[in-house]
Amino acid sequence: MYKMILLILLFICVNPLNAYDKNDKLEVLIMAKASKYIKWEEDSSENFIITILNNPYGDLFEKLLSNKKINNQPIKIKYISDIDELTRTNILYIPISDKKKLSSILEKIKNKNILTVSNMKGFVERGGIMQIYFISQRVKLKINLQESINNYLKISSSLLRISDVSNRGKK
């Protein structure tokens, strides 16, 4: 009996925890998969860079996206705690906690060929490009088409077809 309990405890202790929120996982993966339907300006860099501002999800990005590729470029994850630390990136993920600073963040990266992604409510209407949100146990995508054009991003019609598209107006 005691050996068995010891075995169980040992097993528990050596086994890494995988208790990530399923919604968080979906959000990260959808961001990555949706990026495959988007074209950035010609880029000779070696890596596809995803920058996470004030990382809300621990090592989830690394766990799900390391050793993966987008547009044949290996994904590289960068973490920053202030928008002024931002260097070249393909995607900037902005968490809900930065809602108050959103307008200044977006202003700083305006027209810089960066896909902005967030799950915060009203993100797309406030000038963000891709919003991932959850309604009635389903995950949804919302895209600000005009902002993507302003940032020189080409979004395929396949992605627009399965997204809620706002701000379709031409520049």
């Binding site: 068995m4 097993f11 995988n18 399923k22 979906l26 809602k99 409510k121």
Partner: protein
């Protein structure tokens, strides 16, 4: 040794399960994944996955509500939640019109109800007849339009340390539909197998998107419910040719719900919701026998006009540095106007009118609340304050309704019964969650409350959770709690004549009550303990097992009808012209314990069809462990004590099955209600456990048009009649061949099978 092997195997098996990382899924597949069911209830620190809640939480979604075919929230919760009871009583005055509900067999006022996380007011009605929930007031759940509900969250744990008074048996949080729903209209029509109880309902849901993902949603509902009649033979010598109505009342109701969130440019959200319901309901008293003045006898009809509304305004936003704030005000009011028609006041003779205004009851509650919360890396913290104002009013009826013997069926409230009492209370609270080593969390809730009538109380709750594996989760909690005596319990009084005896219900501070030893009401105090675990594989197979224990000290009860046992008591009774008296008192200590076992399994079939099973077993045992007053003892209140201990099923089972294939959806549910008993004339009569079956078949006949047929209790199961009690052996009102053939405690009513059709249109 065997148990340890099983446990070890379970953990090994859990570890071998593939992690659902969806890495190989396409974007389209990911957008079709059913995401986690989350609930806001149980913690002030944001919504939580149901597989990781620190206390047992259940969620009933709007899809499940729709596929149940039900039109009453009481029935929806009875259908989905094992251990939730909501009998359909009859010939019980006000209780016929506002259904009582209980959780785990505890009192109906020991369940707190929230709308979008904010406290909802109770009904003004105090259940003073011999029904389940006697002596309590509960929220009128039927005031809420079902088509306005996104989901109902049920916390099955004591939570007074988090939410304040009443949260002893649990908390029900009703979340209204927000963004992301289509406009819809539903048409329902149904009828009982016996051809009565016809129900017609129309409801409309309209929603409009606002800027920054805001929304404005409204729901309207109109319902007509015809009565059912299940009375037996009236064996009285001079029985009226008009039979007593025993069954569901005649009722017409209208409901409106508004829910809106308006995000502003500056990142501040404004939100509001409003509930409004009007119900006009009619049920009868016992028919009155023929006599010289009334040769055909008569059947008094009690009419309740219920007007209920609540309005919430609030705002939330971020202060900076990660501090989030939320300020809100909720005003709620419930008013019941009673009238009686087709009746007489015997003592007024032929001068008596035959319709009466019997008076009204009103309850008002206003709650102002401020919450602040912040997340640190290993600590989530929330704190806040609440101020609540309550008012209870009882207004007298017209003179003819109460003078002398009063209107037959239900005597009007007298001028001396009139009351208009206020109470205020404020609360300060703090919730904190410490995350240790990712796997281990400790949650602490502390709440101080000060009431203007009975004083202050401090309560605490501790919850510990441990995520052994992604698939295996343990939780344990302990807490203290309380329930403040309601203003109705402290201030209700009424005098009526029944069977020639004048009976009075008196306030606890009335001379009559004091003569029988009554004291000022104090809060009920409670202690809670629960321990449980969750095991799941990729959400498709989930097992939850929880043990719960609740001890309540000084439970408030309405005493039995007491007669004088000494000369001084008799003198007081004579002074007020009554022969029997009753009053509210902190009567007994109770103990509730049991288990909940839930197993959910989702099976993905070919052609993307799914088969969902849900099995839920609840066992709840309620015992009276101590008597605190001579006004209520095991001897002089046998009926009431048995009502607590055996009046509701100790066990119940729900087996819910849902098959979905493209445009077709079939829901088949089996419900087993355990046995229960009712005491009549100091003798207990037992009623057998029964199994009922519900079926709903819906088909999408066009893009946005859905048609459904179905039935509740489709095999027309009815409770057994009184075993050994005949109407002639005891009294004519109860008995297997009497006016009331079935117990009013029946957990699934006694009106039998109900069949319906439903058309839903989205636009």
């Amino acid at each position: 040794m065997r148990i340890s092997y099983i446990l070890c195997s379970l953990i090994l098996f859990a570890n071998l399960q593939a992690d659902d990382d969806f890495s190989d899924s396409s974007l389209e597949d990911l957008l079709n994944v059913e995401t986690e069911l989350k609930a806001d209830i149980g913690s002030r620190n944001g919504s939580k996955n149901l597989l990781q809640t620190s206390a047992p939480v259940d969620v009933v979604t709007y899809k499940q509500i729709k596929e149940s075919g039900l039109t009453s929230l009481n029935d929806v919760l009875r259908y989905f939640i094992a251990g939730f009871n909501s009998p359909e009583t009859s010939v019980a005055d006000g209780t016929d019109h506002i259904r009582v509900f209980t959780l785990r067999g505890m009192s109906s006022d020991q369940v707190l109800v929230l709308i979008n996380g904010k406290r909802l007011h109770t009904s003004a009605l105090l259940n003073v007849n011999g029904t389940i929930g006697r002596g309590s007031s509960n929220v009128d759940l039927d005031t809420i339009v079902l088509n306005s509900i996104e989901q109902v969250e049920i916390l099955r744990d004591g939570a007074a340390a988090q939410y304040g008074s009443d949260a002893i048996a649990g908390v029900i949080n009703i979340i209204l539909k927000g963004d992301g729903h289509q406009n819809s209209i539903n048409l329902y029509s149904g009828i009982r197998k016996k051809g009565d109880g016809e129900k017609l309902q129309t409801d409309i849901f309209l929603t409009k998107k606002l800027k920054y993902d805001g929304f404005l949603s409204t729901s309207f509902m109109a319902q007509s419910q015809q009565k059912t009649q299940r009375t037996g033979t009236d064996l009285r010598l001079n029985a009226s040719p008009t039979l007593t109505h025993v069954g569901i009342p005649d009722a017409k109701s209208f409901g409106f719900v508004l829910n809106s969130e308006i995000p502003l440019e500056n990142n501040i959200n404004l939100y509001t919701n409003a509930l409004l319901n009007y119900r006009d309901s009619e049920a009868s008293a016992f028919s009155r026998e023929s006599n010289a003045t009334y040769p055909d006898g008569f059947l008094p009809i009690i009419n309740a006009k219920i007007f209920d509304y609540s309005i919430t305004f609030g705002s939330n936003g971020e202060l900076g540095e990660g501090y989030y704030w939320d300020i809100s005000n909720v005003y709620g009011r419930n008013k019941i106007n009673f009238s009686v028609y087709d009746s007489y006041n015997y003592d007024l003779g032929l001068a008596s009118p035959n319709s009466f205004d019997n008076g009204s009851l009103t309850f008002i509650q206003n709650t102002t609340n401020l919450d602040i919360k912040k997340k640190y890396s290993l600590l989530d913290i929330a704190f806040g304050a609440e101020y609540r104002y309550e008012n209870y009013q009882l207004k007298a009826g017209d003179f003819a309704s109460y003078t002398l013997s009063g209107s037959q069926g239900f005597a009007g409230y007298r001028p001396e019964n009139e009351t208009n009492e206020n109470r205020t209370n404020y609360a300060l609270y703090l919730d904190a969650i410490y995350h240790f080593m990712d796997k281990l969390s400790l949650e602490n809730a502390l709440r101080y409350e000060d009431y203007s009538d009975f004083g202050d109380t401090t309560n605490i709750k501790l919850l510990l959770t441990y995520q052994v594996q992604e698939e295996l989760f343990f939780r344990i909690s302990g807490s203290t709690g309380f329930r403040a005596p309601s203003l109705a319990q402290s201030n209700y009084s009424h005098t009526s004549t029944f069977g020639g005896l004048v009976k009075g219900t008196f306030k606890p501070d009335h001379d009559v009550s004091k003569a029988f030893g009554a004291k000022e009401l104090q809060a009920e105090k409670s202690n809670h303990f629960s321990v449980g675990s969750i095991y799941h594989t990729n959400d498709d197979f989930v097992v939850m097992l929880d043990y719960f224990y609740t001890a309540v000290n000084d439970k408030i009860m309405l005493s039995s009808d007491l007669t004088a046992t000494n000369a001084s008591q008799q003198a007081v009774l004579d002074t007020y012209g009554v022969s029997e008296a009753r009053f509210f008192t902190n009567a007994v200590d109770t103990q509730t314990q049991g288990i909940d076992l839930k197993i959910n399994y989702k099976y993905l079939l070919k052609n993307n069809s799914t088969l969902d099973f849900s099995f839920w077993y609840n066992y709840s045992s309620n015992k009276v462990t101590a008597y605190n007053t001579k006004a209520i003892t095991a001897i002089n209140s046998y009926e009431q004590i048995d009502n607590i201990e055996n009046g509701q099923p100790k066990d119940s089972i729900h087996l819910l099955t849902n098959y979905k294939m493209q445009k077709l959806n079939v829901a088949l549910n089996l419900n087993r209600y355990g046995s229960y008993q009712q005491v009549i004339d100091e003798k207990a009569y037992k009623f057998d456990a029964k199994i009922t079956t519900d079926l709903d078949i819906s088909y999408q006949i066009y893009n946005d048009i859905n048609f459904a047929i179905g039935g509740n209790n489709i095999f027309d199961i009815i409770p057994n009649k009184w075993n050994g009690l005949t109407a002639t052996s005891q009294e004519p009102f109860y008995g297997s061949n009497g006016i009331k053939q079935y117990s009013r405690y029946s957990p699934f009513g006694y009106s039998g099978a109900y069949y319906y059709m439903r058309v839903s249109i989205k636009f």
